[in-house]
């Protein structure tokens, strides 16, 4: 989406760690070009049976949300507050000390205060106070509460997809508040409204149907590995012959995402192909569970389980 790739100097010179003059509740969200992904295309969501699949674009003013989006959101939030101690606790105990503020790479790289983990969490915490705490219901803004409006929903979406769930903030938090956990739960709620990104929904659908995020079909996997074997033979003179989907092998080898296809992962793949050959392991590859990454974590806990199933089933 970005027009041309900016130089590092251009990027760092535009960073300003000073927050804007207007308070964060009064600063409307600005969908900056190049900082967000496309909306998930409907077919990807239909593949895994997710609701409210439709054509939509984050930059559009109309997100074609279902009529009762607010009820869906709040009901799902209430359910998750009861299901996850982490979520309930992290909504209650933050003291806003700011230790996490400059630990997030999204904040370090943009200077946008809403990318400070504490403020990213406050975006949803303010909604929590409004609908789930007595003080927030009674005192409103003075208790740090705010209404869930369409603008708030868009702001949540924009900033909750600017989190890689790396959990660095939780290392520095004196109470271990983990933004990754909050991100996962809020994205779960977004999925009920069909608000995923194409970059996540695509790999999820591919992992589900084809066993790897790139969507490589079985014959493509074997022929890709053939290329790697040809290269190895050319350099070392040794022809390695791994097996695929062989029953009775001692070890099922599940490779990290991307090693099958893209550089430099392929070099790693060539390395361990040679290592396994040298060690003489009795192992086999699987085309059905053809990589280890679980893209479900970017979607929902249940989706993660649906994808993990593959690896255990094949074993």
């Amino acid at each position: 989406m970005a027009k041309g790739t900016p130089k590092p100097e251009e990027l760092t010179s535009s960073i300003d760690y000073n927050p804007p003059a207007t308070g964060w509740r009064e600063t409307p969200v600005d969908f900056k070009e190049g900082t967000f992904c496309h909306g998930a295309r409907p077919s990807y969501l239909q593949d895994v049976g997710f609701p409210n699949a439709r054509e939509w674009a984050p930059a559009d003013s109309d997100w074609k949300l279902p009529e009762n989006w607010k009820e869906i959101f709040l009901e799902a939030m209430g359910e998750r507050l009861k299901k996850y101690r982490s979520f309930q606790l992290f909504m209650d105990i933050c003291v806003r000390c700011g230790a996490c503020a400059d630990k997030c790479h999204f904040f370090i790289g943009t200077g946008d205060p809403k990318n400070m983990p504490v403020l990213r969490a406050e975006l949803i915490r303010s909604v929590y106070r409004k609908y789930f705490t007595t003080a927030g219901k009674l005192l409103g803004k003075n208790a740090g509460a705010r209404e869930l409006t369409l603008d708030v929903l868009k702001e949540l979406w924009y900033y909750y997809y600017q989190c890689t769930e790396c959990r660095r903030c939780s290392v520095f938090c004196p109470y271990g508040i983990d933004q990754a956990e909050i991100t996962m739960i809020v994205r779960e709620i977004f999925n009920l409204l069909g608000l995923n990104t194409d970059w996540i929904a695509g790999p999820v659908s591919n992992c589900y149907k084809k066993g790897n995020h790139l969507g490589l079909e079985p014959h493509t996997i074997t022929s890709n590995i053939e290329y790697l074997l040809d290269d190895i033979e050319e350099i070392t003179g040794i022809r390695i012959e791994p097996t695929f989907n062989r029953k009775g092998a001692e070890i099922l080898f599940v490779t990290p995402s991307g090693d099958l296809f893209g550089d430099p992962g392929t070099y790693t793949a060539m390395g361990y192909l040679m290592l396994f050959h040298e060690l003489g392991l009795d192992y086999t590859w699987s085309t059905y569970a053809s990589e280890g990454g679980n893209f479900g974590f970017f979607t929902s806990m249940d989706m993660a389980k649906r994808l993990n199933y593959k690896k255990t089933r094949q074993a």
């Binding site: 403020l119 007595t134 983990d178 079985p218 014959h219």
Partner: protein
């Protein structure tokens, strides 16, 4: 903002106590009824909150890992930063609760001529530690008002706290440190642009309240002295559940007491519950043993999966063409 709002709320509380005693003479209300009500609210509120947290399950093991995981015996692993056993978790929690270990890691990120740089930043850790420890000492010291005879341990803490032996009565370090630390935390909150940006009234109010408590206590001890014998009569009668408020203690004492009661009532409904929450935080109180033990989500839902059979049906011809074994021909 919220600074002025919170400040005036505390001033308002002071005025309520002042007029309640000095003008209306409501000694029983401010000396007996409110303290009991506040104490009960605190205990029940605290308990209910912890029960609410405790009832929510922890479906996944999510300890934050800050070091090498336990894998093979010949690879050194980080026992405290990535604990794999209960003893490691206990060690981690002790360091967290007593030494604020995570805050000790704090770094400051800055930009120097277009380069991102990091520097050590321990001021928050130091101020936080000073604040909490001095508060703890002040609390323990105050037990002398509720216990008769006063335990020797409390007298020892008292004499350590006043070891400077300056002034009459001896200046107690804890009260001064508490006030200074609270003021530093306020200064930090307003001077650091990022922290100022995220601050809510709920952040300023407890700071002003605690500073007010410390200040009124210091005033009472060193400047506008109260009748300490009568104070002890009141506090012991509270502890013995007799509730008997003598007159002529001095208004400043009731201001001090009313601010404390406000803190007790406010506590369970606010961020101050981090005191209980730290013990329940799943990123800190769990061992990282998910590769050693299998943990099953308590509601473990049935999910729809794409089975191997379905996969083979999708790709059977292609698999055969590539020489991959299939289950059904």
């Amino acid at each position: 903002m919220g600074i002025f709002f919170s400040f005036f709320m505390v001033i308002l509380l002071v005025l309520i106590a002042y007029f309640g005693i000095a003008a209306a003479g409501l000694h029983t209300l401010f000396g007996i009824i409110i303290p009991y009500a506040a104490f009960v609210t605190f205990c029940i509120g605290f308990l209910l909150k912890v029960i609410k947290w405790g009832r929510a399950p922890v479906p996944f093991h999510i300890p934050t890992t800050c070091g090498q995981q336990m894998t093979l015996p010949w690879i050194n692993y980080s026992k405290l930063d990535n604990p794999s056993s209960t003893s490691g978790v206990i060690g981690r929690m002790i360091l967290e609760v007593f030494c604020f270990r995570s805050l000790f890691r704090n770094l400051k990120t800055g930009l120097n001529n277009g380069n991102i740089s990091y520097a050590s930043d321990k001021w928050l850790w130091l101020a936080g530690l000073a604040f909490h420890y001095s508060f703890a000492v002040v609390l323990i010291r105050h037990l002398r008002f509720f216990l008769e005879p006063v335990p020797a341990l409390i007298n020892t803490i008292d004499s350590l706290d006043g070891f400077l032996q300056v002034g009459v009565p001896h200046f107690l370090l804890s009260g001064g440190v508490l006030l200074i630390a609270a003021l530093y935390l306020f200064f930090r909150r307003t001077s650091n642009p990022q922290v100022r940006y995220i601050s809510l009234p709920a952040d300023y109010f407890p700071l002003f309240l605690i500073a007010g408590i410390a200040l009124s206590g210091i005033i009472m001890r060193y400047i506008s002295k109260v009748d300490i014998i009568k104070v002890k009569q009141l506090t012991v009668s509270l502890a013995e559940l007799k509730g008997n408020a003598p007159e002529g203690i001095g208004t400043i004492f009731f201001i001090h007491l009313f601010l404390i009661c406000t803190l007790l009532v406010y506590f369970p409904f606010s961020k101050l519950m981090h005191m209980g929450g730290i013990f329940l935080s799943p990123t800190r109180n769990l061992p990282n043993d998910s590769r050693i033990k299998r943990h099953i989500n308590p509601w473990n839902p049935e999910v729809k999966v794409h089975t191997y059979e379905a996969y083979e049906n999708d790709f059977r011809e292609k698999m055969k063409g590539a020489g991959i074994p299939v289950e059904k021909e």
